[in-house]
């Protein structure tokens, strides 16, 4: 349907020759480029200043290109910068983030898929209410669970550990995953399910052989969304980790907000870039999957 509309749009309006260079189009592109410039500026500044020696930054202009580019700030940020009490750079914390993100994403995606499957294909008492509760849980301010969660992690002996963070992120990722998959499976053609059941497919076979394979794009969307959110999280990281288990965001903030000593802006920018790279790469590579993830939570009629 949308391709039809797009083609129709093009059919109706192609006679106006979108490539025609009228004054109106000129202004349109100009305004868009202006906005694009404003959106790109911060990351340009970050990049450019992350390869400048410190005196250049202090002497000069944030937007100017480096006169004597150096990768020293990046080296510093990665392996030598002072984070808290140790001068290890961001490397160990980069690792922590990975160790934290991957299990959390995998488990919450798996649970989300199963939940979505059950909620849409089987009569569960109070299923709509459950849906509502799960939907609401996704919006809660996490401040409301900080105290009891800290307590729980303490009781489980997971306080201040990466494992503890994995647990936290998994638990709070289940809601999102369930919603994504539920929405997708709700629109799944029922005839396929019925005929598979008549062919004798049981609970797990139906899931594993029919529905899950059909939902691979949603699996990808979910993974991308969870990865981005968990990698970028700060609040849980700051609340539940200690020096050895800081995720990257906490370490970065530590690096940047230290009030002692000389402010090494270039190292800060390099560090921020290092922290941003994984999710940026995922964004660039995944393109429309990223957008689908964004939209999945929102527009419904």
């Amino acid at each position: 349907m949308s391709t039809q509309t797009t083609a129709h749009t093009m059919a109706i309006q192609a006679s106006r020759k979108p490539s025609a260079f009228t004054l109106e189009r000129f202004w349109l592109y100009l305004i868009l480029c202006l906005f694009a410039f404003m959106f790109l500026m911060p990351i340009y500044v970050m990049l450019v200043n992350s390869i400048k020696p410190l005196d250049e930054i202090r002497a000069g202009n944030l937007v100017a290109l480096p006169l004597a580019p150096t990768i020293e700030p990046w080296v510093q940020a990665w392996s030598q910068a002072q984070i808290g009490v140790q001068a290890t750079g961001l490397k160990p914390y980069f690792l922590n983030s990975f160790l934290m993100v991957i299990p959390a994403v995998l488990i919450s995606t798996a649970l989300g898929a199963l939940n979505g499957y059950v909620l849409t294909q089987f009569k569960v008492k109070g299923g709509t209410l459950l849906f509502g509760l799960v939907l609401f849980s996704v919006f809660i301010p996490f401040q409301i669970v900080l105290i009891p969660m800290a307590r729980l992690l303490g009781e489980l002996g997971l306080a201040g550990s990466v494992k503890g963070l994995i647990l936290v992120h998994t638990v709070y990722g289940i809601g999102f995953g369930t919603l994504f998959f539920r929405n997708f499976y709700a629109a799944f053609p029922q005839e396929l399910v019925k005929s598979a059941r008549m062919d004798g497919a049981g609970f797990f076979v139906l899931f594993w052989r029919l529905m899950l394979p059909a939902s691979l794009p949603i699996v990808v969307v979910n993974i991308i969304w969870q990865f981005t959110n968990i990698w970028n999280d700060f609040l849980f990281g700051a609340s539940f980790s200690d020096y050895s288990s800081y995720p990257l965001t906490v370490a970065l903030n530590n690096l940047v907000s230290s009030s002692t000593g000389v402010k090494e802006y270039n190292v800060h920018f390099a560090g921020a870039f290092i922290a941003a790279l994984p999710t940026l790469i995922v964004y660039i590579v995944s393109g429309k999957y990223f957008v689908r993830g964004l939209m999945a939570g929102s527009v419904k009629g």
């Binding site: 109706i12 911060p42 930054i57 202009n61 939907l135 809660i140 105290i147 560090g271 990223f290 957008v291």
Partner: protein, 290 residues
């Protein structure tokens, strides 16, 4: 299905986890807000005195005030900018996907990264002010980030930069869902472009407005990372939001019960915005479990 209990069994780990870690914890925090907890949870009830204390603290009031100001500007500007960008991009632009990618990429970044970048960008000694000085305009000042009264606006700037792309994506989807023949009918009926937008297109964007409002509002209330990275809550406490207040009072000032109370207030704020949305979704999505 042979095993009637299998679906329920499969759901149960998640139900347990979400039940405990979301709703159980909410109840716990709620209870805590009525106790006399300081450093550690203390289960003796102390009535509503924490709430009384909360509302007597000027820091809390200024946090609420900041939130009100921040949220209003953030929501209004993001929606206006997002809708504008969507309308511009919808004009059959060449390189549409490039522009879209450019406006949307900030959503992929952590708020800490955004805060770090903007912190130095807006810093008078090395950022915008200095850059403009070096270009010759010596009298230009832009030290909002260091100014107690103006710092909150820097948070608005950074937050709008981060999420307008998302609002744009929502409105773009809404725009593309509008039946093209209706637009043709309007053209034949004599409506000029401007009128078509105001009389026909924008009124049909209701769902986009609602969705973006709900999401922006709840993000505003939850804002924490950005404030910490951008201003640290400062200068002083000029950019404290309720989320910052909660963290400070719970973990730094050892007034856990007061912190819990502030968290409850935050939850209520979000519930007011989100519950109607959730109920609407529940009504629309009955599934086989009606």
């Amino acid at each position: 299905m042979k095993n009637r209990w299998l679906p329920a069994l499969v759901l149960s780990p998640s139900l347990l986890l979400v039940g405990v870690c979301v709703y159980g914890f909410i109840a716990f925090t709620f209870y805590l807000s009525f106790t006399a907890s300081t450093i550690l949870p203390n289960m003796t009830l102390a009535g509503g005195e924490n709430y009384a204390r909360l509302f007597s603290l000027s820091t809390f009031f200024s946090s609420l005030g900041n939130l009100g100001l921040f949220a209003t500007l953030y929501i209004v500007i993001s929606m206006a900018l997002g809708m504008t960008l969507a309308i511009l991009i919808d004009q059959r632009i060449r390189a549409e996907s490039i522009f879209r990618s450019i406006f949307l990429y900030p959503m992929a970044l952590s708020f800490i990264v955004t805060g770090t970048a903007w912190k130095w960008l807006l810093d008078p000694s090395i950022g915008l002010e200095r850059t403009v000085h070096l270009m010759g305009f010596e009298s230009f000042t832009f030290n909002w980030i260091k100014d107690g009264d103006m710092a909150i606006y820097t948070v608005v700037i950074a937050a709008v930069w981060q999420t307008s792309g998302f609002v744009m994506a929502l409105f773009l989807a809404g725009l593309r869902g509008i039946d093209n023949e209706v637009l043709n009918a309007a053209r034949v009926d004599g409506a000029k472009s401007w009128r078509i937008y105001t009389r026909i297109i924008i009124p049909q964007l209701g769902p986009s407005f609602i969705s973006s409002f709900v999401i922006l509002a709840h993000m505003a209330i939850k804002s924490y990372d950005l404030v910490i990275a951008l201003t640290g809550g400062g200068p002083g406490r000029a950019t404290w939001l309720p989320s910052v207040f909660m963290y400070q009072y719970t973990f730094t000032r050892n007034e856990m019960a007061v912190g819990a109370a502030s968290a409850v207030i935050m939850l209520i704020g979000i519930a007011v915005v989100v519950v109607p949305y959730v109920r609407r979704e529940m009504r629309l999505n009955q599934g086989p479990n009606a």
